[in-house]
């Protein structure tokens, strides 16, 4: 690793190890990115938190949009998107280089994560030419933000059991009624990718359709949803007879499940490749420093636990690096990305345990002015999200078993039942 020690991301974090794209073109691109970031990356105040932290302020939102516009102007937005719609038409290698360089900064890109990582790529894949022309350039210029509207109170892991209805009226428009939940960014999003049931007489995976919905349309109500950390990075979104024009369908009518699978595939990649915050109390680096500061780093038990935590982080980082190398070599990670998600959650849970040993009672009560106490508590309280959000650990194991290992499916009692006859959520029977 000597060759990579000069710069770049922490070698011990969950993020990548080593660099990709060492060809000449890659080197030139890396230099350009590095130079641009050194000049334009804003300071920590502009940091826009991702989910499981608090919602961004107006100022942060404005700064984020400005930064995205600057990225666009510099030719660094939509690296892998078609040039025709404002992208740069480059490859995954350049994207990887950009992420590696960006990892050294706390870029204010959090609010665009879903827009850029999920909604945009899905439009690239499935949108009509008109949709791409209308939506992609403003997105890349930081003018419009998107959110994703899949989950419902009664449809968590089992997304396909969702109950939000879209009914076509005489004019050809659709009228939407229902409730979504866990929607990041709904309070500031301009558009949403909405999954709704268009044919309840079909089995649950059939009869769904994906729409572009204008979040400012009449009948859309957004309510913040507090999570267990006490902050409200998510929302509930209510649809009360919201009208959507016929040309807002993404993909085909009643083929929404396939569109959703496409989008969730981008989500896994996006999660695996997301940029980590520079300071996180729940890492080996932080906890080793804590242990040193508290004088317990020499305790053999603490030492062993720290070494195990390092090993857990490192094996995950190396797994991710290997997945990327395989991907570069033409073997897309696909469902194997679930391994990284599963392992990532396990590392965090392990870190919570180690934090208790290292920090001791100070992890449970601290002085009001002590930001490290607040940060540690937030990290402890955010950890359950790692094994729940984006598909629970149980769901990830099922994905690995079914799609990677090819194990036989469980008996599916809901496969061929018309949706209107199905029990879902916790509704009365």
């Amino acid at each position: 690793m000597a060759e990579t020690s000069k710069a770049g991301p922490s070698m011990t974090g969950q993020q990548g190890t080593g660099h990709s794209g060492t060809g000449q073109r890659g080197t030139a691109f890396r230099e350009r990115v590095r130079g641009w970031l050194a000049e334009h990356a804003p300071g920590g105040d502009d940091h826009v938190p991702e989910a499981s932290e608090s919602a961004p302020t107006e100022q942060q939102l404005a700064a984020a949009k400005r930064f995205q516009a600057a990225l666009f102007d510099a030719g660094l937005a939509g690296l892998t998107w078609p040039a025709e719609y404002g992208g740069q038409g480059l490859t995954a290698a350049e994207l990887q280089i950009f992420q590696e360089e960006a990892a050294a900064y706390d870029l204010p890109t959090g609010v665009f994560l879903i827009s850029m990582g999920m909604c945009g790529p899905t439009l690239v894949d499935l949108g009509t030419h008109e949709q791409k022309v209308r939506y992609l350039p403003p997105l890349l210029r930081g003018e419009e933000i998107w959110c994703q509207l899949f989950s419902e109170p009664g449809a968590g892991s089992d997304v396909a059991s969702l109950q939000t209805r879209a009914v076509r009226d005489g004019s050809g428009d659709w009228v939407v009624t229902g409730q979504k939940v866990w929607t990041s960014g709904a309070q500031y999003a301009d558009f949403g990718a909405l999954l709704a049931r268009t044919n309840p007489d079909e089995a649950k995976h059939r009869g769904l359709t994906m729409f572009v919905v204008d979040m400012h349309a009449p009948g859309v109500t957004v309510r913040p949803l507090r999570d267990m950390t006490g902050s409200a990075p998510f929302n509930e979104v209510y649809f009360d007879d919201v009208r959507i024009p016929a040309d807002a369908v993404i993909g085909e009518v009643d083929a929404g499940w396939a569109a959703a699978v496409t989008m969730l595939g981008h989500e896994r990649v996006s999660i695996g490749g997301s940029v980590r915050r520079r300071y996180d109390p729940m890492t080996f680096d932080s906890l080793r420093d804590e242990a040193r500061a508290r004088g317990v780093a020499g305790d053999p038990v603490v030492r062993g636990e720290l070494a195990e935590l390092y090993a857990a982080e490192r094996k995950l980082a190396l797994l991710n690096a290997r997945l990327r190398q395989q991907s570069d070599a033409g073997l897309a990670p696909g469902a194997r990305g679930s391994v990284a998600k599963l392992a990532g959650a396990q590392v965090l849970w392990q870190a919570v345990r180690v934090a208790g040993l290292v920090v001791g009672p100070r992890a449970i009560a601290w002085e009001p002015g002590d930001p490290s106490g607040d940060a540690l508590a937030l990290a402890i309280n955010a950890t359950p999200a790692s094994s729940i959000a984006g598909g629970t650990n149980q769901i990830q194991r099922g994905i690995i078993g079914d799609r990677v290992l090819g194990l036989p499916k469980e008996p599916q009692v809901d496969r061929d039942v018309p949706f209107r006859e199905l029990r879902v959520g916790t509704q009365a029977r």
């Binding site: 059991s161 002085e367 359950p384 729940i388 599916q412 879902v424 916790t426």
Partner: protein, 364 residues
């Protein structure tokens, strides 16, 4: 050795549970939690006193019930299950045990009848800012000032300190009692919003010295009894989480059937149950030992924290996980048990320290 409750103990559990169901539903816990001015539920505390459970370990002569640790653990398990915001751990456990162990008649006569009657609450300050049990011995200094003593310094992790009428302080390797109102309190930020802790600042604070032949022995005795009492709270939380999780697994439908019919959920619930059952046996053994076999208490108390500490946290975390997204919301109660369990796991020392205590007791 008795590991199951008798008829009277079951009735005690029922009556506390009924009281809490009526007067301490989750909504009430959240009200108190949100009100930094209140911090504890004084009406509920009075009701518990009327039920006669605030002075369970106080001798009958001092107005208490003269009951045992098993009885007190019965109450604590219910309080832990309900996350009841009352200063029971501070006053009816830590302070009561310290006042009894100190063996000073004046102190006992002053404090115990008031504690038993629920008229006054008493807190105990034994730790410095690092939180190690007994470390206040060095962070709070005592100096004689004429016929009085004065304390100077700081103690932290004082559970329910700001609401206490008196504070027992382990200062300068001895025991002192001070008026709660004479202490300068700085409420701490806490992981668990239902368990208040504070720093106590002493600035030439007038104190009464409590004569005691073996102050460190009292400190240790209080730890052991606190370890058992906390384990009872932890068990109560585990049982509640298990019950809630099993109930949810029966009604929540995904993929066309209740999630509890999926092995990933069913087997996880079975593991929770297995953990609870073993934890419960360990708890009643520890409580019985405190009552009947004090020589074995160092081992039984350490065992209780070695087992119940991590088990309660794992149970809370797993229960939350099995609820999925709803369990991660502020509105659902799963996070309150999660935060309480992590807090309890570290309140009396780290799991590694508890293991070391157990190893000491076993002469490994």
């Amino acid at each position: 050795m008795r590991l199951i409750l008798d008829e009277e103990q079951r009735r005690l559990a029922d009556s506390v549970r009924a009281l809490l169901a009526d007067h301490c539903p989750p909504q009430r816990v959240r009200e108190v939690m949100a009100d930094d001015g209140a911090g504890i539920d004084r009406r509920l505390w009075t009701q518990l006193a009327e039920l006669g459970v605030t002075g369970l370990l106080v001798p009958e002569a001092a107005g208490g019930a003269g009951a045992g640790h098993v009885d007190r653990c019965v109450v604590l398990a219910e309080l832990g299950a309900a996350l009841a915001p009352v200063p029971y751990l501070a006053s009816a456990v830590l302070a009561t045990d310290a006042a009894i162990a100190l063996g000073d008649d004046t102190l006992a006569e002053d404090l115990l009848p008031e504690i038993a009657a629920g008229q006054q609450t008493v807190a105990v300050a034994v730790a410095d800012a690092g939180g190690r049990w007994g470390s206040a011995a060095d962070s709070v200094q005592a100096a004689r000032d004429g016929g009085h003593w004065r304390l100077a310094g700081e103690a932290a992790f004082v559970v329910d300190g700001p609401f206490a009428d008196h504070v027992l302080v382990y200062a300068d390797h001895g025991w002192f009692v001070v008026d709660g109102g004479a202490v300068s309190w700085r409420p701490s930020r806490t992981l668990d919003p239902t368990r208040r802790m504070a720093r106590a600042e002493f600035a030439r604070t007038s104190a009464r010295y409590v004569p005691c032949a073996d102050p460190a022995g009292v400190l240790e005795a209080v730890w052991q009894r606190a370890a058992v009492a906390l384990a009872a709270e932890q068990l109560g939380g585990m049982r509640r989480v298990l019950d809630d999780t099993v109930e949810y697994a029966k009604v929540r439908v995904q993929f066309g059937r209740p999630i509890g019919s999926q092995q990933a959920v069913k087997h996880a619930c079975a593991d929770l149950y297995a953990s609870c059952e073993q934890a419960e046996a360990v708890l009643w053994h520890a409580a019985w030992t405190a009552d009947h076999d004090p020589a074995a208490l160092p081992e039984a108390a350490a065992l209780a924290q070695v087992v119940l500490g991590p088990a309660a946290f794992d149970t809370a975390a797993s229960g939350l996980q099995l609820h999925g997204g709803i369990g991660y919301t502020w509105e659902h109660d799963a996070h309150l048990y999660y935060k309480r369990a992590k807090t309890s796991e570290l309140l009396l020392g780290t799991p590694a320290e508890h293991r070391a205590r157990l190893a000491d007791a076993l002469s490994i």
